[in-house]
Amino acid sequence: MERHVMRHKLSEYIDGSIPSAAKAEIEEHLKTCAACSDALRELERTIEHIKTVEQVEPPAWMTQKTMAKVRAETERRRRGFLFFPVRAKLPIQIFAVLFLTVIAFYIYRNIQPTPNLSEAPTREAPSSVIAKDELGKTDRSSPRSEKAPQTQKYKALDMKLEYEKPAPPIPREQPAAPAQQPPQAANEDVLGKGAAKPQAAAPPPIQERAAPSAGPEPQAGAKSKTISPLEKTAGLSARTDMQGNLERVALESHSNGTPKLIVTYEVVDLRKVKLAEERFNIKGERHGIQREYYESGQVKTEAQYGHGKLKWFKEFSPDGVERSGRSNYDWFWLKE
């Protein structure tokens, strides 16, 4: 046991890391113990042998190669994200894809606001409402019977003809006992002094554009585009008179028969060109998004009404760029 302890201490004794008292004790013991002296000698020889092992030299290219890697690392830090490890990039990429998907969805929805509207008249009855109020009818029990005969198909975005501004409608007498006479609502004066104050034309059910109470004097010689009263027939395609070629179709209606969505088409050369969408609330007030379209299908004007009052509007050039400047309020649904 003592010998083992001695040999353990011999290693430290050789390294000179043993306290002086213990060192003296060991030296005293070594004088009398041949075995420990031999062990000390062998251990010293072993360490000498170990120390004879030659050092290897680094290759000449080593510094250069190491520094090249260091510089590459510096550059990688500088470039940042591109050289992030995959574990760091993956969540960011997933988030980016989700974000872009949501953005694309909203953009698509804005570009194609009512993708089915243009086809609706051809697939199904343009609903029950057209001209009902205008005609003063009280019988709304058979909407299917009012399905408009469609003789041609068309695509809303496959349009060639230039849209001409419809002439102001011929002033007409109000139909007898209209079922819904929407109140006139004053628009907000969002345009300042220079602009005319448009009336939030209420939607006299599928009649003409409007029957405004305040507006320019109707022109006597109304042009061909003027919307004439809806035919008082079972057909709901609501064509204009012989000169005109506008067709207003109520695609949706409220429970009381008030039109909810009215789409106006121009029929030219067997083609239907969507000109406008108008939305109303159950009271007949203009309510929701109103749109006017170019013949190309691009949105020309877009406005938001709330209960007959204009909230905001946007006007777009034919290439879809939002126009700057002030509107002249020469909007489809306000033309008189």
């Binding site: 040999r7 353990h8 011999l10 290693s11 430290e12 390294d15 890391s17 000698r41 062998e42 251990l43 020889r45 072993t46 360490i47 042998h49 170990i50 120390k51 004879t52 092992v53 030659e54 050092q55 290897v56 030299e57 680094p58 290759p59 080593m62 510094t63 190669k65 190491t66 520094m67 890697k69 260091v70 510089r71 690392e73 510096t74």
Partner: protein, 199 residues
């Protein structure tokens, strides 16, 4: 353990932290030989040791901002080199299924032939040859040590680190360092006596 004030590398480290690549290159030039010898004695393969040392310097550069100067730069760099050498050694062994050297196993000579277990009677006519022979045997015996014993021998007897520095590099108490060093030296001694007969 040393501190930054007594660390002769403090200035170069400080400049490296400020983005001076030339300062870091000076550190590489200064320490790469020592680090390479540590790695080489631990791994036993020169090319792998070179790779390990390069990786160690890259790691040191990446983490130089985390080096707070509580130890000498040499100690810190050596710890990194030892870690990279350990990892590379593990990968090499897992690749080749290579078993660690056993003190009782036959030792392979430089020429590829198995050296007889009894003491070699090969005459050492020339001192140089004898020296090379002894060196080769010593290397074999060091190589035969288990890694945790090999590390302390390399650091103490080949690289002259103090117990305190070894304690810092290997992150262990000084008592453990002394104990391992004694066992490692005893193992090398026994190995050499087996091969060479007497010391």
């Amino acid at each position: 353990m040393g501190n930054t004030a007594s660390d002769e590398d403090a200035d170069l480290v400080s400049r490296t932290r400020q983005g001076d690549l030339n300062a870091f290159e000076s550190l590489v030039n200064k320490h790469q030989k020592r680090m390479l010898n540590i790695a080489f004695r631990m791994i036993g393969d020169y090319d792998e040791a070179c790779e390990a040392v390069q990786d160690a310097f890259i790691s040191a550069f990446k983490n130089i901002m985390n080096f707070r100067g509580q130890a000498k730069f040499t100690t810190w760099l050596t710890a990194i080199t030892v870690n990279h050498s350990r990892n590379r050694l593990k990968r090499m062994r897992s690749r080749s299924g290579h078993e660690a050297f056993s003190l009782d196993a036959p030792v392979k000579a430089d020429d590829g032939e198995m050296v007889a277990d009894p003491p070699s009677k090969e005459p050492s006519a020339l001192d140089l040859l004898e020296k090379r022979y002894v060196q080769g045997r010593v290397q074999d015996c060091i190589k035969a040590l288990a890694p945790e014993y090999r590390e302390v021998v390399i650091l103490r007897d080949l690289q002259d680190f103090s117990y305190e520095e070894i304690s810092g590099v290997l992150n262990m108490r000084e008592g453990t360092v002394k104990s391992r060093l004694f066992r490692a030296r005893e193992a090398v001694k026994d190995c050499l006596k087996k091969i060479m007969g007497e010391l």
